[in-house]
Symmetry: C2
């Protein structure tokens, strides 16, 4: 089924203990799409400035991502500058220039409004709700968010949760939004806000999912050298949504498997800077790692 992602397309400057990249391809919608394209057709809606390299548009198109909804505005592309240290579980933001993304209203063309599966990548809840209102007959709408919006747009977020099917947050955000320190209790509280499922991303520790049928936890794939965690969460979301759209299903068991694919695809993302590894990965490589992951988790006799 058709999958739409609305989110940021960025130029990232990132430093980790393993190196540094400057103005590399990044942004939530980019990582999401590059993961989702492994499972289904994906359409990207977002905005860039006139300085956005043609080469990267070419890369996205070449990977089968429909970027007809990527607006080009006069001005500069969104830039993010971050650093990872220590356990590398959280980025330290050194600088953010929203640039053209600051005024982005997310106006969608006819074709995008007809998509079945929708992911509202991290962005203002005002933008996210405007997208929800434009959709014609969506089968599943899921959003991500971040601490900034929880602090500054709590009211909009609360309203949005009742308009959604599912929500994805990282560990710290789920605790902050719900006020629950226990993550299972936090996921339960998210469900009580009106969504049908909640997924809590735990970085190196995997993810926790909850539907009305119950909670499940899955570990991350053990990765010995995490070179750059940027985009791990967005590519997790992309694989998760891509798998569900590909399966045309989003019940408890499909979600659980989708989260497993999210963990597997994210483990490729972190192996190199920017989209270096993710953009090159094939479905066969994903399936091979998925089989090893399933084997690692198999506890019943065969």
């Amino acid at each position: 089924m058709s999958l739409l992602v609305v989110g940021s397309v960025a130029l990232d400057t990132v430093e980790t203990p393993h190196g540094k990249v400057e103005e590399a391809l990044g942004g939530s919608a980019v990582y999401f799409s590059l993961a989702a394209r492994l499972f289904t057709d994906v359409k990207l809606a977002g905005v860039v400035g006139e300085d956005f390299p043609e080469e990267w548009k070419g890369l996205l198109s070449e990977k089968g991502i429909d970027i007809a909804g990527l607006d080009v505005r006069s001005g500069k592309t969104f830039r993010w500058n971050g650093m990872y240290r220590g356990t590398m579980n959280e980025a330290t933001t050194l600088g953010v220039d929203l640039n053209v993304f600051g005024d982005y209203e997310g106006r969608l063309g006819e074709e995008l409004r007809g998509c079945d599966y929708v992911f509202l990548a991290n962005g203002s809840p005002v933008l996210q709700r405007s997208v929800i209102r434009q959709m014609k007959e969506p089968k599943l709408i899921v959003c991500d968010t971040m601490d900034h919006w929880i602090e500054s747009h709590r009211g909009e977020l609360d309203k949005m949760l009742s308009e959604l099917d599912g929500v994805v947050m990282n560990e710290g955000e789920a605790r902050m939004y719900t006020g629950e320190s226990n993550l299972v209790a936090a996921a339960r509280k998210l469900l009580e806000s009106g969504v049908r499922f909640a997924v809590v991303k735990k970085g190196e520790h995997g993810a926790l999912g909850m539907t009305r049928e119950g909670a499940f936890a899955l570990p991350s794939v053990p990765v010995e050298e995490v070179r750059d965690p940027t985009g791990a969460g967005d590519s997790f979301g992309g694989a998760m949504m891509g798998y569900m759209a590909g399966e045309k299903a989003h019940g408890h068991e499909t979600l659980r498997k989708a989260v497993a694919y999210g963990c597997v695809v994210a483990s490729f993302t972190v192996e190199d800077f920017s989209v270096e590894r993710l953009a090159g990965v094939t479905r066969d490589e994903v399936e091979e790692r998925f089989r090893a992951y399933a084997e690692m988790l198999r506890l019943e006799e065969q």
Copy 2:
């Protein structure tokens, strides 16, 4: 096979957001034994003072734990006073009185020295090495430790690792001991110290294991209300060692399943204060939860 644990037997005063207990039954060897007895015969070696309640000796014996090696000395029993807040992943120690445990030398009788499987629960590396030297023909010796010993007895710990088969540490200790922030890299470094396997306990996030055949990660069982995390790690170790001793095996696949049992049994421990839940749990209850856990992790088609 016979399993020996040498460690602390304590009176714990613990406060969590869910309540408080005073001078309740605790100690690493106690939690370990109560978990291990679900899988195999277990013998406990340790020391208590004259103030240790007869009732609790009765409880341990009743559960089939051999406490012939539990010395009673004149003086007071080891006391620990701790508190859990927030995510409850780490205890804040408010007070420690080693009392008779401070002088404990771990002299073992003939029968205990003949045990096949040995677990050196958290204690001074000097005590732990003294136990290693007394064992006759051990098949598997595994130790736990804590930050205090890593800081104060680094040299003894280094020597001990080359005398052991396996090591269990929590997340923070593994990072501190190896200097690696990536836990997979930390586990690898532990293996390079001479052990055949390393298990890193990650509290609410489960555990990571590593043998020469590779790394594996398993999540914890989702628990919505963690009333008291005290003893979760020790009962994890008890179930893990108990399962291996019961199976008379300790290769990669047995260890992986043993770690899964560790996660399952720890999930009972945290459901109530002290040993309230753990002491009452039956093997049938463990198997039932293990089946649900295996089902949660099953990713292949049946």
